[in-house]
Assembly symmetry: D2
Homo-oligomer: 288 residues x 4
């Protein structure tokens, strides 16, 4: 699937500041960058770096002066997502997990998997495969949590969402990750551009490691697996901020666009989506 | 129903200390004290006081010396509990609540009803009466929370139990109270002696204000409504400690006994209990 | 001290709703209502009730129709606050506390005194009197917490403020109450009108029970003890909401005014305020 | 410094289970393994793996049968720790941080650095260097938190410790990490064997990234920097469990020993330790 996407961020600086942006589409074997342009409308020091472990690309900016600064990114990207057939995922036990998968089993800032094992066991332990278990978790979250813009903040974690039952995409992903990890299913956070969002925004989803592959899930049901372009990968939102700043920085404006270029693309209904299993990352232990 | 009950508490004091005990059966119109004996095996200052608002009786002890101290309480009590027939509870709106009922609507230390309104609404708003709603909450807790001795501590609150899904009678009561209050149903904490407990211990349950009566509920299913003797009433466990100490005090030993004297008494099955509605407090606005 | 005060609240109702307002100055032996007027600009059922335990007056409103509704309250009030001389407060032990004082020792929704005993002990146990201890707590909060409008919400509790070190008057009061209770000093929440606030708003402070009197404290330093008029009293903010609604109700507008009428009134500096001890409630066990 | 160390862990298994042990001394340029022996007293599948990112070595065990299992590890290790002179650490800004350092700036499960920035700023922002700031944080924790065995559990996080002011080495390290990260100083968790502990146990400390080096800190003051042998490195305790189990596993017994072999070794007093700065990891961006 081919995509045309862009983002534009405007910040106000009151003093010199270093910050790290995560807006570029990931460059990997399953995601090709056909073209891209990254521009900053100010004379700043700037370097792009790529994380070896996750493949996420960051732009580190050092702005020596106060003032407004606008960052624009636009790209055309081809994503080789793969829809898996029923029975195609053959799960393997934890004795097969590589070391780079293990961190995605541990609790993290927003995903306190250590606290919710009884709930997840109660919800899905009767299901035979991990694929079915994750699907049941996704469906449970989708029907139990209400999508309410502005209902949560940067502090909100999976246990908060479990209590308050409202949130945005980030919160859905955190709860999904926490529930999966508590069933010993490695799960990681996924940020990206999504074709289907209204209003357009950055999106957050999650992936689970089953049968030697990272499978893709969106508990909000807002995006199709073949309608998203990955930016970052991490344990949770703390690894994947659009902007990490070392000093005061005020977001003034944000615009995000993402369009599928393939004519045949069709967003499926939530019911259809709940039956599909997608992999956006190829097979193999390496996540990058 | 007539009961024979007793408790024995042994504490170690390392310095002079004042403490407040809540072990006596409540004295009220619906609970008659046939006989009782309260003894302390040490020459201490001691006074019994009765809370006008709740009817709970406290024994305030001031021990001037270090050492061990044993408090024994035994009583015969008659409880005039009332089983209500189907349709007998006719609920009324919040515009009828007296001021002394209102505090039982507010969130408290262990019952953060302000945070869980979406969950309770999701669970029971489709039910027509508050009686049915509370019964559904009781049933939901009973099937979702595991009774695990030692799994919680004095910090544990309703939101913790919602996340961790395990607890003891105190935690079941707190979660029940929080869910009811979030539906605008006044709910209060109930501590007492219970016939059916194994091993014997103090018990905690809760009551809800519906139709001008306090109805009794035990989300653990361990006690029958006609098998309990009330000690204290409060917003949550913070109001109803067996012992509140103003200084160091170490519990060494605790023994609790409670026996129904009526020959005809039969503990019902959990299924039967889930269909019953009981009032242990007579009708009328005054809770004492 | 004489005051002229007023408040005006405008709500939008989308359906019939019952709500409870707490905006009237308390009527008590130490606070005389010289005149007052309470009006609602709509034909609604309305009744004023007074809580026997705390003296707080509530207005219960039942609005049968959707629409906008404006509540206006204005009053002239005389407050007989008493400034205590050095050494005038002679503290007494917990063995002298009446039952109606005890609830103010227990942890509550926003004041988890059960968790912060080590901190308070570390901060003030070296001070000889409870009056000095509370004053040190007030000073500690004043220098450790930043007053930041909008930094907290209705969920925020004393432990949150201890971690995040920012809040508004409500949060300052909750932290003060929690620290005092953890030192076995009864403490309660105080809401009122204050002469000195800029911008004008309802204010929150707290009181501690020492030597048979409720002493007044404002950890924010924004109000003078002789510049406030009490509305409500409670364990914490959960007891003292300006408005408790049983159904959806949207605040559209709020205006609050409070002016000292006495010519001689002078707001003291924070340094002066930190040396003063005031009682706004007369001596004696009864809080009403 | 040369060390002789050992650990012995006995677990009870009730069913087949896979688990991951982290007990081996790290193998790195600054830590040489002179000899080591790792034995399991049962015929199980077992493989040792080394994390490329952190250098931590794990032993993955798959036990096919129920029963008791004992794991013994003993080693002689040489650690090339380096004491830095005053002024030797020349700090550099966040614009110099490599990508593999950044995760140690983000909040993690037990280190909610995102919530405590006001506190750390209040405590140390007046100090000129990051080295002084971290030292002040270490000293602050050492005087504000009480070391109380059994006071915390696997749920306890830095914000809990800030509230409750008691904990064990793990909690001290978490609070230190959280405070440092909130000042934009990368900080990571360190587990190891320590010469000085009484009773002997595994130990937890932390490191901060300043001037291109990981500096070592122990807020408990229990260990000397030249008296510890590193096992694991991670964001917090969630990355560094002695044992991560995929299934039920009950610890029956644990014995840990660690002895410095160098004759000249002397544990310094807490006052001396507070003046020292040590690096246990050599200079350079790579942590492994």
């Amino acid at each position: 699937m081919k995509f045309k996407l862009s983002s534009e961020l405007e910040y106000t600086l009151t003093q010199p500041v270093t910050f790290l942006l995560s807006v570029r589409a990931r460059l990997s074997a399953t995601q090709r960058i056909l073209s891209e342009e990254f521009t900053i409308n100010a004379p700043v020091e700037h370097v792009m770096v790529r994380c070896a472990a996750t493949g996420t690309r960051f732009d580190r900016v050092h702005a020596a002066n106060a003032g407004n600064i606008t960052i624009r990114y636009q790209a055309e990207v081809e994503v080789l997502s793969e829809r898996l057939n029923a029975g195609e995922v053959v799960e393997t036990g934890p004795e097969t997990f590589d070391l780079d998968v293990l961190p995605y089993l541990y609790p993290s800032r927003y995903c306190q998997s250590d606290r919710i094992g009884r709930l997840s066991y109660d919800l899905v332990s009767h299901l035979k495969t991990q694929e079915e278990q994750v699907r049941a978790i996704v469906e449970w979250i989708g029907t139990r949590v209400s999508y309410v813009s502005g209902s949560t903040n940067a502090n909100t974690s999976a246990t908060d969402t479990l209590v308050e039952r409202a949130g945005v995409c980030r919160d859905y992903a955190h709860l999904g990750i926490a529930l999966c990890r508590s069933m010993n299913i490695p799960a990681r956070y996924f940020t990206g551009y999504a074709h289907d969002l209204n209003p357009p925004d950055f999106h957050a989803c999650f992936e689970t490691w089953i049968g030697g592959r990272w499978l893709f899930w969106d508990a909000t049901g807002l995006a199709s697996p073949d309608g998203v372009v990955r930016i970052g990968t991490g344990r949770d939102a703390s690894d994947c901020s659009v902007c990490t700043s070392f000093g005061p920085l005020q977001l003034q404006r944000q615009e995000v666009h993402c369009q599928v270029l393939d004519l045949g693309y069709r967003k499926r209904t939530p019911e259809e989506l709940l039956k599909e299993t997608y992999c956006l990352d190829g097979a193999g232990p390496a996540s990058a």
